[in-house]
Symmetry: C2
Subunit: 208 residues, 2 copies
DNA sequence: CGATTCTTTGAAAACAGTCAATCTGTGTGG
DNA sequence: CCACACAGATTGACTGTTTTCAAAGAATCG
């Protein structure tokens, strides 16, 4: 399980990890297994730790006053989950983070991170890179949200993040795109009519 | 001009700056004055430096294939401008950053930042805090964009960022909210009909 | 297999965008 | 000081997109 994280750190920091650094990481993180549909974080709680997804899938979402769910983030292997605002400011979170499949996470709390980034430049670089990556990902998503219509957003997802389409049910995809499931259904049949795309067993495959 | 930045760093890092640290900052940043409607960054260019707004106002926006502008970010005093993706990855930027008023900025390039964060814990803490703040701000904005309708987004702006309403023309506010100026105009007259709000000289004032 | 949940489809309503015309305020030059 | 031009904001009528509500049709799980 830890190997996935070692690899991730080596990629992000562009440095090889020494045995000593690996041991620092191994001691700092805690492996956590969650069954399908378990909360990693629940609305109202303070997000005490970040989680690195070794295997599995999660979604981070809020529930509004009308009972509608809004997915802010999908998590799959090699991605991090947690609510930055709650985590850093110790505010109660407005969001839920829930597993969509059985999920193994490597978790770490705030103090531990501060500790280990002081012990290894590679680890420090990794956390810096993560934070920057988070900002970039959010910027792009925001840009799409305010500048594209529903069909364009779906198209974008289809081409840039097809993994999500294959892995999450349509209701969640819809709320990730900020539209209703019915609208997504209609858009999909529109797009698939126009373009040469194969469809098998719930998995979309683009054939050109 | 530098005092605004010193104050900002002391606030963000929760530490007092020594004279030596102040001098490090003073040497690292370059003061830049831009007239109204000048580019700080232009689509297609690589964002070579970040800018701290000492006085003035900016907007960061993209122009889509239909010629529509989409405002991703407004900048006012004490905020930073720059395109994180372009800045960190050295990609050509998809965005323009333009002054809306005459603006004074303190600018700094990538290498300089790396240099000075190594020289002062307070400075390092400030840049970490900035990055986290950026992530939180973007998350909130994304959440609003996907979960609120046009009127709710305007309402939110009215209550949480009234400064922007007073400082930027309506066309820009509209594109910040992801709607057309005509729609904003209608929403405004709707909201102002419902609620007790005073209006004088282009400045909104909420009276309850 | 049956029960449940997810997806699709249809028709009507609500919402936001488009285009064109009017109104308002600002600054300019006569 | 007034007349005018100009840009920004508003309004109206219309079009297009998305939501809502309801019902039927698949897919999934025990």
């Amino acid at each position: 399980m830890l190997d996935a994280l070692f690899l991730y750190i080596e990629q992000k920091s562009a440095q090889d990890l020494s045995e000593q650094e690996k041991s620092i990481v191994a001691k700092a993180f805690t492996l956590k297994k969650l069954r399908k549909r378990q909360y990693f974080l629940q609305q109202g709680d303070v997000c005490g730790c970040l989680g690195f997804i070794v295997k599995g899938a999660t979604r981070m979402y809020s529930v509004d006053s009308r009972g509608n769910e809004h997915v802010l983030q999908f998590g799959v292997e090699q991605l991090w989950v947690g609510d930055d605002e709650s985590y850093n400011m110790l505010y109660p979170s407005k969001y839920n983070i829930e597993t969509v499949e059985e999920t193994w996470l490597l978790t770490i709390g705030y103090e531990k991170i501060q500790e280990i980034i002081g012990l290894s430049p590679a680890i420090a670089a990794t956390f810096r890179a993560m934070q920057i990556q988070a900002t970039i990902t959010l910027s792009k998503r925001l840009h799409r949200a305010i500048s594209l219509n529903a069909e364009e957003r779906f198209d974008d997802l289809l081409h840039n993040e097809p993994v999500f389409l294959a892995r999450f049910p349509q209701t969640m995809i819809a709320s990730y795109l900020g539209i209703k499931p019915e609208t997504l259904s209609r858009i999909k049949s529109n797009v698939l009519r126009k373009k040469p795309v194969g469809y098998k067993g719930g998995t979309l495959s683009i054939s050109a």
